[in-house]
Amino acid sequence: MSARGPAPTNVWLWLFQRITAVLLIIVLGLHLWLANFGQASASLRAMLGLILLGLALFHGLNGVRTVILDFDVGVQGRKLTTVMLLLLGAASLLFGVHGLWPLIVGG
């Protein structure tokens, strides 16, 4: 097995990328509606914010991973990419929850 070559396609990641794509269109529509016209309780907005945060982080970072892996970075490069993006995702999730905190605790 050579160190370089096309990355193996993970069917689950491919499928989740499609599912999150469709959900993001719906949730982003709600997000824009709520930002402009919406009257919603803090808990509903917190819930929508958390869902949007999770969907967008997965879809965005998995998309970045796909783009990077298209550059033939090798087995080590693929592992490093995945680990770095997972760390970035975890940190961003915490930061996003931090930003949503006033809504979550019902401000």
Partner: protein, 141 residues
């Protein structure tokens, strides 16, 4: 690396604009817009969370700019927001196109062009609706 770039963009290369057809443009723009949107999302979350938590500091002026009508303040922020809206709309409809092709809808020499331009029209209409109905309301709150 240099050789690979030369092969991609040189004569006969896949990413030489002369050889790029509609589907390759769509593929390329989808990737670039995706990367731009990740950066935008980070900036968006930072701006909003700063405004939520601190309500002071330099980022609050950015949030203030977002909540005022564009004829009054910070046109740059608004221009970026409108640009992002367009990018999101394109990335979204082109994503729908990708899912459609995965399922096998609209794949064909003629129909894929019709699908593409119809969805671009949908993206333009959706963006226009948000701009004309959404933006004026931001100033009122």
């Amino acid at each position: 690396m240099t050789r690979r770039i030369a092969r991609l963009f040189g004569r006969g290369g896949d990413l030489n604009p002369k050889n790029m057809r509609l589907g390759v443009w769509a593929w390329l723009i989808q990737r670039i817009s995706g990367l731009v949107l990740v950066l935008f999302m980070i900036a968006h979350v930072i701006a909003i969370s700063q405004a939520n938590l601190a309500l002071t500091g330099p980022l609050f002026t950015m949030f203030n700019g977002l909540r005022n009508p564009f004829w009054a303040v910070d046109r740059t922020v608004l221009a970026i927001d409108i640009l992002m809206l367009g990018i999101i709309a394109f990335h979204g409809v082109n994503g729908i196109r990708i899912v459609m092709f995965d399922v096998g809808i609209g794949v064909g020499l003629r129909s894929h062009k019709i699908v593409f331009w119809s969805l671009v029209a949908v993206a333009i209409v959706a963006s226009a609706l948000v701009i004309f109905y959404g933006l004026p309301l931001l100033g009122g709150t």
